[in-house]
Amino acid sequence: MKKKMKLFIASAVLTMFIPFCSWSQDTKFDLSRSIEFSNSKQTEEIIIKTESNSTQLYISIKSAINQGGLIVEIYDPAGEKQGNFEIESIVKSNDGKTEYVQGSIQKKINVPMAGEWKIKIIPTNTTGHIRIGTYIGIPDDKK
């Protein structure tokens, strides 16, 4: 009976640990940034560094503006554009009503090129915000 109990506990412990072990093979490092614009004109660049052992790069950008325009571009380390969008808010009348415009992009790259990925944010008299989230997957043993 004791033996059976031990076996049961051992298998329960193993069952609990196996998923954790396989999950921890690929740890993700997060970066999240939020930028508010108030009649902004200044271009910003966000750099994401990936290593040669990075297993995945995930980029999520969400933006909403109610004045001006906003261009967002994603470049890989070789300088090739990998994604972009452009939004423009148009003031409809002089009674103070403004129009919201939204743009978002999601990009998932497996085994990303090593180096500096660049997110270029170009506002034009912009009022609004942008939220950027990036996740880089790295094998656990190389941490």
Binding site: I90, S93, E99, Q102, Q106, K107, N110
Partner: protein, 335 residues
């Protein structure tokens, strides 16, 4: 003999009746984009159609780009009327938005991508179908051979852009190179100018232009007569050639210039001026007509529901396309 005459008259009459009916149909016939789209309850039951002026603006959005908005009924049916579109094919984007979100919202990538593109003209009759389970990229386009070809080019493009293309960097480079070659080959053989140009854009021409100079020379020659905004923007984007400039070319240009000046004085050239407005986009044409009526930038902004800065940019584009320098010239220009 009388019977023959009667028979002959009957034939003539039938011909005219048929001919006038067909002609009438051609005048009144305008197309539609219709179909059935099932969206889950998080999406608003409305579709928006935007005009895409060039291939750099695929992912640009503002309310001024939206040219039509239609409701999706309870069974998922909708229909866009195309009677106000130009006769030539242009690229349009159809999108939908989450409930409570602004009309001008674009989501690129991921499971919630909210748009797709379509080539259409005033006479197109295109049917679409999408079930709840299907992704937006899997939308079925029926009755439109050109859009079916477009789907094939897009699927190559999506594949090259996808995350799972290869497990190593070198393999990915090889696959992408082969994919871009395939897209250039499609562009080379495709008879539809805009689809061909879309394939060129998908092949990331800016990164391979200098290594494929002969291809792009031939391509430009093939579509030299294309005057659409898509080709104009493309030509402006082409990098400067790194090759030498032979004296023979200069000779040709000089002869061409002389010939052009002489031709400018003939009536043939003047007749072409009449069609100048065809180079303008739909929005630019609308603004041009308001300019001719003497409206100020502010008036046009109010009339078209767009910002004054957007009006200015349109006016500047109109001046450049029509080669004029002032409103006075715009008023004097006959359309």
């Amino acid at each position: 003999m009388r019977l023959k005459v009667k028979h002959f008259l009957f034939c003539i009459l039938s011909f005219f009746v048929c001919h006038s009916t067909i002609a009438k149909q051609n005048i009144n016939h305008s197309g539609s984009i219709s179909g059935q789209i099932h969206l889950d309850s998080s999406w608003a039951p409305t579709l928006y159609m935007s005009y895409i002026e060039d291939f750099n603006s695929l992912y640009s959005i503002s309310s001024s780009m939206i040219i039509q908005k239609v409701d999706i009924d309870n069974e998922g049916y909708f229909s866009f009327d195309l009677e106000f579109l130009p006769k030539e094919d242009n690229l349009y984007r159809i999108h939908f938005v989450k409930k409570g979100e602004p009309d001008a919202s674009i989501i690129i990538g991921g499971s919630e991508e909210n748009h797709f593109f379509i080539f259409a003209n005033r006479f197109s009759n295109i049917r679409l179908k999408k079930s709840k389970e299907e992704k937006i990229n899997d939308i079925k386009i029926l009755d439109s051979p050109i859009n079916l070809q477009f789907s094939q080019v897009k699927s190559i493009n999506n594949y090259l852009d996808s995350s799972n293309i290869a497990s190593t960097q070198i393999k990915r480079t090889f696959i992408k190179k082969a994919g871009y070659e395939k897209l250039r080959s499609i562009a080379d053989t495709c008879q539809h100018s805009l689809l061909s140009l879309y394939a060129i854009y998908s092949s990331k021409f800016a990164t391979n232009y200098n290594s494929e100079l002969d291809f792009y020379d031939n391509y430009n020659q093939k579509w030299a007569d294309e005057e659409s905004s898509y080709f104009k923007v493309f030509r402006k984007q082409l990098p400067l050639k790194k090759r030498g400039f032979p004296l023979l070319y200069i000779g040709f240009i000089l002869v061409g210039l002389t010939f052009g000046i002489l031709l400018g004085k003939t009536s043939l050239f003047k007749r072409k001026e009449v069609n100048k407005l065809s180079v303008l986009s739909i929005q630019e044409r609308k603004i041009f007509l308001l300019l001719q009526e003497g409206y100020s930038n502010q008036d046009i902004s109010d009339q078209c529901n767009i910002g004054v800065s957007t009006v200015k940019s349109h006016v500047s584009a109109i001046y450049s396309k029509l080669k004029i320098k002032s409103r006075k010239e715009a008023v004097n220009l006959k359309n």
